[in-house]
Every structure is written in C-alpha cells, then in structure tokens.
Point group: C2
Amino acid sequence: MACLPQPRGLLPLWTWLLLAGGAAEAGKLLVLPMDGSHWLSMGMVVEKLHRSGHEVTMVIPEVSWRLGSSVPYPVRTYKPSYTLEDYNRVFRRFADNQWDDIPKDLSSALSNPNTTVLFEYLFSNCRSLFQNAELLRFIRESAFDAIFFDPFDQCGFVVAKYFSLPSVAFTRGLFCHFLEEAAQCPSPPSYVPRGMSGLSESMTFAERLQNYVHYLQEVSLCSLFLQTPVNIAGDILQRPLTVKELYRDTDIWLLRTDFVFDYPKPLMPNMVFVGGITCHESKPLSEEFEGYVNASGEHGIVVFSLGSMVSEIPMAKAMEIADALGTIPQTVLWRYTGKPPSNLAKNTKLVKWLPQNDLLGHPKTRAFITHAGSHGIYEGLCNGVPMVLMPLFGDQMDNAKRMESRGAGVTLNVLEMTSADLSKALKTVINDKSYKENIMRLSALHKDRPISPLDLAVFWVEFVMRNKGAPHLRPAAHDLNWFQYHSLDVIAFLLAIVLTVVFIAVKSYMFCCQKCFGKKGKAKKAPKSKSH
Amino acid sequence: MACLPQPRGLLPLWTWLLLAGGAAEAGKLLVLPMDGSHWLSMGMVVEKLHRSGHEVTMVIPEVSWRLGSSVPYPVRTYKPSYTLEDYNRVFRRFADNQWDDIPKDLSSALSNPNTTVLFEYLFSNCRSLFQNAELLRFIRESAFDAIFFDPFDQCGFVVAKYFSLPSVAFTRGLFCHFLEEAAQCPSPPSYVPRGMSGLSESMTFAERLQNYVHYLQEVSLCSLFLQTPVNIAGDILQRPLTVKELYRDTDIWLLRTDFVFDYPKPLMPNMVFVGGITCHESKPLSEEFEGYVNASGEHGIVVFSLGSMVSEIPMAKAMEIADALGTIPQTVLWRYTGKPPSNLAKNTKLVKWLPQNDLLGHPKTRAFITHAGSHGIYEGLCNGVPMVLMPLFGDQMDNAKRMESRGAGVTLNVLEMTSADLSKALKTVINDKSYKENIMRLSALHKDRPISPLDLAVFWVEFVMRNKGAPHLRPAAHDLNWFQYHSLDVIAFLLAIVLTVVFIAVKSYMFCCQKCFGKKGKAKKAPKSKSH
C-alpha cells in the first residue's frame, strides 16, 4: 500500500460536530472518584471536562492518598469513619497479605479478613457522605446535570438514585457477575473467562469447568460480599433493594479496556470501551533518567514497577529478584522504596519514583516488569514494550493472562518463582523477537481507532449531561424476570401444547386401534365360530 | 446549561489520527454491491473511499438498474444468466404481489414463488461471476487488500473465501437468525424482536410466544431458503459447507442501523452501527419544488413516496389514497409514475421523482408518508418529520414498528386501510404535537454522536485493509460447538458428580442405618431374650 500525504477524515468530523451539536454546552457535573490508581485515568477525563468549560465538583472523603490535591476545580469533602493512619494500616495489611498467599478461588479471595476489612472501610464512606447534611444540601441545590463516578466503593449508585441524577460509571469492571446483570449483557461462561479466574478465552474442558464453577460461586457468594453497601443503600434510600436494583439504572458504562487487550465477547449498546486513556506521547526524560538510559549502552534498559500501591516487598523475595536482575546485560530501573537488597547488582538502579510512560516510550527500553495493573499494561501496550508480568491481586491475574496469551509477555507466579525463573522470563521477552513483534502489532491495533479513548469518554459524559441520561440505550430485558428473560414460560407453554397434542393423538390412536382390532377380532371370531 | 463558543475535541482527534496511523495509506478494495435501494448508502461509502485515494474496483452483473452508471472508479462486469427484461418482469411480479397479500408468517414469506424466483435470480449471479475466467484472473492478480460487499446476494462471502480476502459486509441485517449465528451474537427472543416479525421490544406473553415461534421457524426453515447459494458456494469452493460456515469469517459487519432507531440488544465487538449515512444537510430545492412549497402557504407540505422500488400501485388503492390526501389542508407531493387517479384533489401534485432528503429538510414539511424502507426512515428521522408508515415487504414492517413504538409515526396496513384511516393518520401526525416532539428528540439523539456514520464506515473498511482483517475481534465462541457453547457438557458433568455424590451418600446412609439399626435391633433383641 503506497503512502498518501493527507491524514483522513478530519474535515468531515469537524463538520459533523458542528452539524450535530452546534457549539458545545457547559454542564454541571458531580464527580465521585475512587482513590489510588483508579484515579489515574478518571482524573484525566475529569480534567478534560473541566477544561472544556463544564462546572465540575468533586466529592471525596477527607482522608485520601491522591484525591483532591492540586486539582483546578472545586472539591467538597466529608468526614469518613476512619483516620489516615487507620486507612494506611488496613491497606498495608491488605498489601502485605498478597505476599503470603494468592487466593485459590473466589470464595477464599472474598472471605480473606484483610480484604473484607479494607472494603468495609471503603463501603462505610457512603454512610459518612450521607451523614453530612450540608453536603447533601449543596448537592441538591447545585442541580447537577449528571454524576460521573467510580463504582468501586458503590456510593455513586446511591447518590445517583438519591438525587435522581443521570449517571456515568467509569471502571475496569464490577465485582463478580454484576456488570453483566446490571447491563443485562450475556456472557457465556464457555468462552468468556470470569473475572479474577486468570483463564483465557480458549479453554480446555477442565478450564471451562473451572470457569463455570467460578461463575456459580459468583452467583451464590457475591451478594453476601456486597451485603454491607446494599444495606447502607437500603438505609439511605429507605427501601430494601438488591445489588442489581442498585446498579441497573446506570446510563453509560465507560469501561477501561478494549478488544486489543481483552477477549471479544458480547456487549450492550450502553457499554463504551475506553481502555488506554493514560497512554499518551512520551515526554522527554529528566536529566537523571536520561543519564541512566544513555549509560545503558546498546543493551538498553528494563523498567520495573509493581505499581503505585505496592512499593515494598519482603526482603527474601527482593533478594531473589535482585539476583535475577543481575543476570541480564540491560540496566534495570526499579521503582522500590524499601530497604535495598544487599545483593543488588551494578546494573540495577533503585528509584523511589519513575516516569513510567516516558521510560516505556523510550526506544532503548527492552522490557517492562509489571504487576499487571490495567494502567501499567496499557502503557506497556501503547509503547510496544514486551512484559514480564507478576500479578498480585484483583484483576491483575486476568490482565497478565491476556498479555501472555497474545504472546506479548511472560507471566510469573510472584510467590513461587525462583530467581532463575525471573532471569529466564526476562531473557525470553528481550531476546525472542516474537514478543516484540506481537506487542508492536497490538500497539498498532490499539492506536488504530476512529477517536481517542479520552475523547470518547469525554463525549459520553457530555452526552449524558446534554440528554439527561441515555434511556434509549436501556434494553427492555430490564422489564423481564429471569424466567421470562430465558423464555422459560414460553417454552413451558409450547411443551404443554406439544405434550397435549401427543397425548390426545396417542389416546385417539389407541382408542381407534381398540375399536378397529376389537371389531376385527370379533369379526374374525364370528366366521370361525360359524365355520365350526 | 449556558453556551460556550468553541466546538469540542477537534485538536485531540487530529493529534490522535496523526499519532495512530501517521499519513493515510491507500489500499486496493474490491466492491461487490447490491442493486436497488441498497446501493444508496453503500455507494456513498465507496465514493468516499475512492476520494480518499483508495484504488476501488467494483464488480457487478451486466444487467442492473442503478449500479455502475457514472461512477468515477473502474467497474468490471460479468454476464448474468438473465436479461434486463427477465429481471424487470420478475421484480415487477414480486412488487405487484405485495399488493395482493402481506405474508402471515415467515414460512409463507419464504415460500412465496414470486419471492423465491427473484432470489434465485440474485443467487445465480455468483455462479455467473465464477464462470468468467478473465474476471477471476483479474481479481487474483489485483491482490486486493479487502472486499467490501452487500451480503444480500451471498456472493461476497464466496469471493472472500475463494480469494482469502479480509472482508467487510454492509447491510441492514442478514436473513433470519444468520447474523447472530455468524457473529456469535446472543439475541434473547424474550425481548429482541425477530426480523420481519413486526414486533416491538415490549412484548406481551402472546407476542413473546409469537416471537419464539418465529425464531423456531427461522432455525428450521431458513437453511432451506438459502440452499441454492450454499450449494453454489459449495461447488465453487469445492467442499460442502453450511450457511454459518459461509458467513462466519466476515471481519467487520457494518450495520445500517443504530440504537435511536433500533431497540437496544446485545452486540459483538465486530459489529459497527452506521445507520443514517444518507442523511446529510438538505440542499436548496429546484425551482419546481420551491414553487410547490411556497404555494403551500401556512399549512406546508406532505412528502409521499413508497421508495424507489415501488412507483405504481393498483388503481383502486391509488384512488383510496388520493381521496384521503384531499382531506388535509397541506399540499401533498406524491412520487407516482402510474396512471393518475381520477379523484386526485387539487392539493396533490404527482411527480415522477422528488428530492426526498431536501424536501424532508424543508421547514414547511409537516409529514412524510413512507413505505418504511430504512433509508427513507432515516431521512425522516434526521430531518425530524413525523411519519405515516405503509410498510410493504422485507424489513419495512419492523422499521415501521420502531417508529410507531417511539411515538414518531402511525403505521397503516396498506392492504386493509381505508381512505378514512389514512386521512385520520395524517391528521394525527400533523396536528398532535407529540409526534413532532418525539421525532425531533430522536433526530437530536441520532445526530449526537462522536463521529458521523459515513466516517465510521470508511474508517472500518480502511482498518480492515490496513490490518489485513480484524481477527482480534473474532470471539472464541467460533471454536465451540453448540453443546459446548451453552456449557451443556460442563453442566452434565457437574450434574453427574452431584448425582453420584447423592447416590453414594444415600447408599452409605442406608448401609449405616441397616448396620446400626440391624445391630441395635439384634442388641435390643438379645437383652430382651436374656431378660425373658
């Protein structure tokens, strides 16, 4: 295919925007974000909405890590039931626990006390928010056009319902099977791997069995896990309700994934895929990092980060890792805030923070060691860097599986791996050219889209503000119970008709036979008796 | 919401396109279109692809109505098995038949000889194409990047398979359940009305029953209807194959609908919705039509067309219609080529052709009488004109139902309606303001999208050319048989385990009981005998 000089389709897009909406309209948006890495991409959407002239107000708890600091739009806070020290302690215990044990199944993951206590903290925020009368009055009087929220702590659903606000949820997914239930989206467990199962789309019979059992566990256990937020919602809304009832009025689901990263599966019209928002052109490196990269010579560098939530790891594991890193000729830049391992090799530089996307975008970067958080994965994917994946919790096992099954990375069990395993994995993704080729192909596919994920996310938030929701995208399935949805009443009715017809036919046939053969029998017998 | 002066998101889109693909690439595209109204929107996509610098070649039969005339790109023809006279005669018989009888169900629609003979003509094109050795050599030597086809005559699938070409299908839908089967898209018959059922998304039990029976008819009858093209495909590809096998390798399905017009339902990632391509800003009217509109005074005009395929109607029906049109104060512009009805009122102007979109876009247009073809519906919808819908065949019943159920039009049974019915329907959509409000709301929603349907269609054809298909959007469901897809083997296995466990438990319990009570019995009996 020969190159033509002009980029395509710009003028018509412009024309269409003008034709469709005329000048942009400024709306009033209530934002309920989630702390931690979740805010990385949602923050970019909110910032762009603010820059577009919308009146954005963010509501957050007083206690948080990265929310509300230095944002250019108003922030309202409420007092949570815990202090920052409590929050840090509970999170530390949760994070440290990941180094002891990777849960074997959904049941053990959901019932781990270190997990449940963290979630009880998060879930309690909603009660705290609704105890702040002044904040409630402010929200009511502000007459927001819509609410834009991260559903992880569940409170966005409650606020949307309480104030009857059109709503846009921004998330990687929901717990268990609830996104499918809330959006009425079919998801056959025969080829759609369940969340946190760590399975791929191509499953053996045993894996399909495992996936199905995982699904059965979701259906039977997950409502229990979400009992607290559902009870809180019930208290606030003053009526009992189920998880599905709490979730199902969401107008648009902005999902932080796409089908270059995720496996193809059924969708619904109000699901919009915006994976890759944090990928942007890499900026020039600071002097410090430029120095590291330049000094790496022909071998280049490896970027190593376990994400913003995990910066320390047990010393024995750290030494094992350090040992492995010393076996490759690349310079390794390792984001690590703990005590340096004593066996750190010369090629390994520990840094407290690193410009991840800018480093991944550097042509000398050969590999990325990551915990497989979705933001990190997308930065690796966008920049075309093969990965060594060391998933720890949440969706990370699934994310790792997706990269591995596409030949773009090697997954390691971080608890069981040896130094040799890590060394081998690194050498594989760096030296086996297929990994680089595959991640470059995925990178090109991911970027080949008609509109950037950030613009798409902004468009749909604005759409919901402009149109007071998106009820035209709500499927009629919401009006059916599960019996009707699966047409079981119709099938039962048809079966009843068929059985009745068969019954009548058989009875009629038997009756006829009886009559005919009875008569024949008699008729035959009669002549016989006569002949005698 | 106050107005801001700047249109949104232009610079980032530009940046994204530059970042993503760099300069646009010119590809080689093979186009297999369908004659008649189908070409209206597909032609616009092909024209834009040609203007974007792609090397487009269209392959069509020598005999056609509107294909190939005055297009600015090369056209290659093959000799079909029929003459233009045959084609016109068969189509006229098919069209005339619509005035005699509206089929009661799918079975009678598919078995009508006037329908089947028309389709046998269309299906035979593929055999004719493959009998043209020179054309086949040309296609092979051209090394096209992709094929872009209308699947109505089925031949695009065969050409794509024969030459192993990545493919984009452009259609309103496929016959029966085959789109869902080909794309592995779930479609619960409890709320997704089957094609040609004329049902809405909100169904009573009786309607759900009807929809389910319609679905059963599709599954049992439709393969027979498509036996000819499947046999032709089998002969050409030299292996027996099913309809699903013929369809399922299509990379992208460009579907001429959206969820303002259609009801929300499950989708798959390789389905792209591009309804409304023919809607564009209306151009100024010619002197003739400007004269009619100006002379209509305060009452304005009504636009009446039964589409490009039906221009004549039986005289008795035409007189009934003419009678009704005389009862409204609006001027009616009626596209009609038959003998003028003798009772034509003064307010009714017969024209052989009318600039439909431009008239519908005129502010004095009060209503649109249409056969509910999808192109016409979208032009009415874009321009916000309430409709009186007189569906005749194919998807028209469904299209009419969608507009009616949204309060944007009134549907009439064209065979059974009286003059009074049409008069009443016209007065209703013109005078009841809710119809205008509803169609204006739908119009605004339809236009409120991040990218125009034409640009979106062009993007995906280019995507498939650039990337040699879209295998990353192909769900793993294609690798499962129906038993596995529905997890029936897994469920059977789990049931077997449960039953075995229950069986062993019951047997063990009974064995224990027998042992215990047996012993106890004996033990009890022993002391008793001793005591005696």
